[in-house]
Amino acid sequence: MQRTAPSGFRRAGFGVGELLIESGGPTRDFSKHLFNTLTLAAAAGAIVTAGALVLAFVRKERPRSIAGRARPSPRSAMRCRAR
């Protein structure tokens, strides 16, 4: 297994790190931005995963209920058979 980061990634990381040192560290709004990002990502992760879980479960339990064709009524089935 390759344990070291690829050189392209390392070089870019060092470049951005140099820029960070040059700027004298993060700005004073950094912690606020980080908090906003983490809050938003965590909320979205929880909501989207819960939605996907419910949707996948309903699709598994009732395959025709979501994105599937409804079962034809007996009358329309007879009509199709007559054609």
Binding site: G51, L53, F57
Partner: protein, 171 residues
């Protein structure tokens, strides 16, 4: 595109509610949906539901119908079966889906830029603002933070996949 699709009906709803309350009671409700992160969360759901659905669906496929049938025979309702039987079985898939969405949302820019509330900047927006102002050194900290926060869940995922491939328990 999704941001515009979310913004149009939500703004219409906000305007309708605001004008109704202003006319009927003389109070202003403000922007109920577009003023907060509700519109953002709806847009993220539309954007990343497919990613989460793929992972969760693959986990649910591995649960055989006989397991659900056995639980239903014990007079459990469908949501009880999901909570007590399916969820513990597919917990790694659910965690994977949540991590994938988390990483994607952390670095998402266009929808966040359009739908964010006032004075609500994320790391991606801060990096974009600094870079568009040519303040590249100031954009370094948020950029590195996005990469670092995206790498940690990826390392966890890779370790989990490697552990499950070797027959160990997923952490």
């Amino acid at each position: 595109m999704i941001a515009v699709g979310v913004l149009t009906p939500f703004a219409a709803f906000d305007n309708a509610v605001s004008s109704f309350f202003a006319n009927a009671f003389g109070i202003s409700t403000g922007l109920l949906l577009t003023g907060g992160i509700a519109a953002l969360l709806v847009a993220y759901t539309a954007l990343y539901l497919a990613v989460a659905l793929q992972s969760v669906g693959a986990g649910l496929e591995r649960v055989t119908p006989s397991i659900s049938g056995a639980a239903r025979l014990l007079a459990r309702g469908p949501w009880d079966v999901l909570r007590r039987v399916h969820l513990p079985l597919i917990a790694p898939s659910v965690l994977t889906a949540a991590l994938l969405v988390f990483v994607d949302v952390m670095k998402e820019l266009p929808a966040t830029l359009m739908l964010r509330p006032f004075n609500f900047d994320t790391l991606a927006i801060a990096a974009n603002n600094y870079a568009s102002d040519e303040r590249l050194s100031w954009a370094a900290a948020p950029s590195l933070a996005i990469v670092a926060a995206g790498i940690i869940p990826c390392i966890l995922l890779i370790r989990g996949i490697a552990a499950s491939a070797h027959g160990k328990d997923v952490p």
